[in-house]
Amino acid sequence: MAARALINVPPKAKRGEVIGIRSLISHEMETGFRPNATGQLIPRNIIKEFVCTYNGVEVFRAEFFPAMSANPFVSFTTVATESGTITMTWAGDNGFHATESVAITVE
């Protein structure tokens, strides 16, 4: 099943206002350090990079590591500058790639 993502961006904001953005994505974040039932290591499978762009301009970037929990939750803030689209991208092992976009209206 494809990765599910839940993102929370206020649909409306005043120009210059600091807005909170929250994102949650389903991912097992397998560390690569855990042995399976036969004692062999389960290969690492994590999200490595998370990027948030606001009308194409990067406003937040994070690198993820094996110590991050499954289903990583990221919360950050940015300044509402103009109406447009906020896009979030997750990329990781085994060609993992997910993108979510939301519209924001700035008055």
Partner: protein, 261 residues
């Protein structure tokens, strides 16, 4: 000598009685959900559907609800239609008595019965991602509804069985569920609140598990901690205990999917 022995034992018994007061059920008005024991931050996670990781499973469950299982069988929606209306309040009534089986079945088992009998599909494995997702999705439709399992001639015997299991001392530690969750529910165990063990939010997203999990998984957790026999997931013993716990939480609002630390 004998008199001294009696006094010494009487004193020890008095101390024991203070430490472990007699088993008594929690009065209805004093019941608290696990939610009330949580930190503010964890409560905020549960309250917001975009922070509550259980909602990821609810979304998967919604997709499964609408998917045909193959071989020309109808999807869940094909019979039940819009879950928002048809499934409202349903999860709050489970476990429910199944006349066909002559015993109570919980929501997971009801979904699998429907899947086997009506959809002619292979039942999901207990605790599998798909079964948890569908259970969470059906449970979500009852959020806020008061828990109301049937308490009638058919279910009474099974509720009593569950109560007996809840109050029976078991395992190498010789503990009963009630000693912690009735008598000392405001206390702490290894720094964590004991809580009253009210099953208000299942399936729950447990931060410790980093996963969604059923009540049976949680019960097996506790039983392992007591070093007692752990029945298999979906075992009749656990369903009876689940039925008693839901009866014990009657009237409390369902929170599915709950978030717990």
């Amino acid at each position: 000598m004998t008199r001294m022995w009696i006094w010494r034992n009487a004193a020890a018994l008095a101390i024991l009685c203070v430490a472990f007061p007699a088993i008594a059920e929690i009065p209805l008005a004093e019941r608290k959900s696990g939610y009330d024991f949580m930190a503010r931050e964890t409560r905020a996670m549960q309250d917001d559907d975009t922070s509550n990781a259980g909602m990821l499973w609810v979304l998967d469950g919604e997709a499964l609800w609408n998917r045909e299982p193959g071989a020309g069988a109808k999807s869940c929606a094909g019979c039940h239609g819009d879950a928002r209306t048809s499934m409202k309040g349903v999860a709050a009534r489970y476990p429910a008595f199944s006349p066909a089986l002559g015993r109570p079945v919980n929501l997971e088992q009801r979904i699998n019965l429907c899947r086997a009998d009506r959809q002619q599909a292979k039942p999901f494995a207990y605790e599998s991602k798909d079964l948890l997702a569908l259970t969470a999705f059906v449970g979500r439709q009852s959020r806020g509804e008061p828990i109301a399992v049937a308490d009638d001639a058919q279910t009474r015997k099974f509720i009593e069985n569950g109560r007996a299991a809840f109050t029976r001392r078991q395992g190498q530690l010789n503990l009963s569920c009630a000693q912690c969750h009735d008598d000392n529910s405001d206390g702490r165990l290894a720094g964590s609140p004991l809580t009253q063990g009210q099953p208000t939010g299942y399936p729950i997203y447990r931060l410790e598990w980093q996963n969604l999990g059923s009540l049976h998984r949680r019960l097996r957790n506790c039983l392992t901690g007591m070093r007692a026999v752990t029945p298999a997931l979906g075992a009749e013993d656990l369903v009876e205990l689940e039925l008693y716990l839901m009866w014990r939480a009657r009237g409390m609002p369902l929170e599915t999917p709950g978030v717990r630390p």
